[in-house]
Symmetry: C2
Subunit: 444 residues, 2 copies
């Protein structure tokens, strides 16, 4: 077999990077559970019609098909209608509808899974990546204070990681839509889409786009851009909006909700949240607060954690399940930091102690030492060979394993060597414990 090569868009971490990823996922999960979110996993596949409900993403869907389907009596139809999920929100909305009778509302869940998008591969774009989502859905109505809770959870989760500080930018769709209505624009969706491109193409081009796609006059385009320029770390954004002199009930409602989000976040951790009225989020299903998150020093790579409130994603007949959710792009986040060499782990394996083997006949004695250490929670390997001790020590060195254990021969005491300092001392496997900092690999 010839040497295999990577597949573009499908990243694979080294074991050391995977240790870092697991550390990150453990911290995120701990925070989600501290806030009472229950875990959930959904299947990787959804019926194609579900996946295509979000129009824009249809080109990204991966279909799956059994290799032998054509040969079967049942034909390809059944399986051809399945695709891999491209996010965790659409599957979650489906899960809620399917299991509504068994769930308690409001339902708080977190979900950490791979998703797939069949995009054309390009720099920094993944076709397979890991997301960590939280959502809260309720039946019929969802109280707006849930929108204010999201930044607290995300702020705590991201602050628990060895990563640069983050800033969560928040806006509210009602502000934009209300404002656009208030100035007489009839196609708020097209206006939103144009504003969403502000970072990429700049205000002049957005003004052109507003004229072309949303039918905006010069004055309307100017007003839209004035709104988008408003940004403040506190409720003062509301004064700036009012100063624009536009009156609309939906606009007022949106401002009130966004004030609450910003003030709740400021009470929890000042500086975490910024009201930024240019944040639009391309997806059309958001109906209230929207979130984006930038990592300080990595702003040019865009948002690492985004979401918003959606009122119409899950509904069956007259029953609606409005929700709010936010998603950490774990692969994206780690890809950026790995690329910058900004994350490291203190060793390449979980192992804390390597038990040397004096001779193959004595391997059982080394196994007993390992068993005693493991029974007290010390990750331990037995040396794969009974080579000279120098070679066994190099096995540990190459992997960053801090301790090598030498079983005593002919009644002599066992000894343990810290191979970083070279210190060696008598020790008993039933009692010896490494310093706490050495027990597990340290991520920094």
């Amino acid at each position: 077999m010839s040497k295999p090569t990577p597949i573009s868009g499908f990243p694979e971490w080294t074991p050391a990077q995977r240790m870092i990823e697991q550390y990150v996922l453990d911290r995120i999960r701990d925070t989600f559970e501290l806030y009472g979110f229950a875990p959930l996993e959904t299947r990787a596949v959804e019926p194609l019609d579900q996946l295509l409900r979000k129009g824009e993403t249809s080109k990204e869907v991966y279909l799956i098909r059994r290799l032998q389907a054509d040969a079967d009596a049942d034909g390809p139809a059944g399986d051809d209608a399945l695709g891999l999920h491209f996010d965790l929100t659409v599957p979650f909305a489906r899960y809620v509808l399917e299991n509504a009778g068994k769930l308690q509302f409001p339902f708080r869940r977190y979900q950490i899974q791979k998703v797939w998008r069949g995009e054309r591969p390009q720099e920094g774009r993944y076709r397979e990546f890991l997301q960590a989502d939280i959502d809260i859905v309720d039946r019929d109505t969802l109280a707006p204070h849930h929108e204010a809770e999201m930044p607290l959870v995300i702020g705590d989760a991201l602050r628990s990681l060895p990563i640069p500080p983050v800033r969560i930018q928040v806006n509210n769709r009602k502000i934009c839509e209300g404002f656009y209505q208030g100035i007489g624009l009839t196609d708020p969706e097209s206006a939103l889409r144009a504003v969403d491109k502000l970072d990429k193409i700049g205000p002049a081009k957005v003004a052109e786009l507003l004229a072309q796609t949303a039918g905006a006059s010069e004055a309307q385009a100017k007003a839209v851009l004035s709104l988008a320029e408003i940004s403040a770390p506190d409720a003062s954004f509301a004064d700036a909006v009012r100063a624009l002199g536009v009156s609309d009930p939906m606009l007022d409602e949106g401002v009130e909700e966004l004030v609450r989000v910003v003030e709740t976040a400021a009470a929890h951790s000042p500086g975490l949240c910024v009201a930024d009225l240019r944040i639009a989020r391309g997806l059309d299903y958001y109906t209230g607060t929207v979130y984006e998150t930038q990592m300080v020093g990595y702003e040019r790579f865009g948002s690492i954690c985004s979401g918003g409130r959606y009122d119409n994603l899950a509904s069956a007949g007259a029953t609606r399940f409005p929700g709010v959710g936010i998603s950490i792009g774990v692969t994206r986040l780690l890809g950026l930091l790995f690329g910058a060499g900004a994350l490291s782990v203190s060793r390449d394996v979980p192992t804390c102690v390597l038990v040397a083997v004096t001779s193959e006949e004595q391997r059982a004695a080394s196994n007993r030492v390992a068993e005693a250490l493991r029974s007290r929670g010390v990750p331990t390997e037995v040396s794969p060979s009974a080579a000279k001790f120098g070679k066994q020590i190099r096995y540990a060195e190459r992997r960053g394993i801090p301790y090598v254990w030498f079983p005593g021969v002919d009644g002599a005491a066992d000894e343990v060597k810290d191979i970083r300092s070279g210190e060696q001392a008598a020790a008993a496997a039933g009692e010896w414990t490494p310093p706490r900092a050495d027990l597990r690999p340290l991520v920094s």
Copy 2:
């Protein structure tokens, strides 16, 4: 949208079941790490030619294809050649070849991921399921003591779970192949395949099959069945093999290796391992020890954890990477136990404390209590509504949340109520700690 329905073969657990699954995965991972296995994840997809190297499973492969591929200039070819992995061994062998230059050998890794098999759905068969694998590969040669280590790891991992006791059945392909050669059978693979069906079709039918597919005489078929009948919890199986009077160097080597596996396991935990010479494992790539695992009381459902030694799965030119591995079928295991109602969790959410809300105006005070509790590791939710306290208590009751916290009004002390006993006492959010057993949901 109409109510969605489950897709056959793609199981989805409830949040409470997912909490149990996470508990199980955490225990398994802890054990794997205690033995020094490093974590690894591989991408979900492999090139089709890699997946088809294991002939028997080709009919189970799911191909993936971009929905928009046909419309693209690059056409469908590139993506059509990708399929979802159906196990974690084939991707691991590919990963080792691809990264051999960067890995330290022997390389010990664990891998816990979903796999997909496009089988026809039937009772108890999954199309998507979770596996937890460990493997050790070395370059050129792999010392046989690694084969003896596998049952120790699996024994510890499964013993750490709230499940019935297990018995690991071991055999060695060299015993079967050497024995078949020794009695003059020229097609040992066909003989193995016939013996693999012993549990399903019984000895008479296997004898017929041996005659038909492996060209066995009546005496040869009888000898093959005599070997397959040998089973012992210790090295005494070797005497029973010798009593059959067949002489072959490969047979002797296999017996020696299997004695070592059984004796190492007996020293670690008596009764865990049984030499069972009928265990064949259908997959043709095994070349040494093979493992199957039965759960006491669930024997009729077959093996929940299987594997073996493979010498030829990963090789590039003249370089070989022989390995040994074993895989816990987590979804299968949990599916059986969930089906029998044999696993439960003490509550439906991670939440330990629900902080009541006196009025919406006072929500910030409840947020502060929650923040203080969370900062000391107590999973806490704030009540979604400022309804009457009786209704807020019922919110906690319905989810099994053990404590409800009442923030003091007008300078009064906060109080916390254990809603199981009804006891209520003054408490300070910066100091109060629940009994350890209440902190996290208990799985039993």
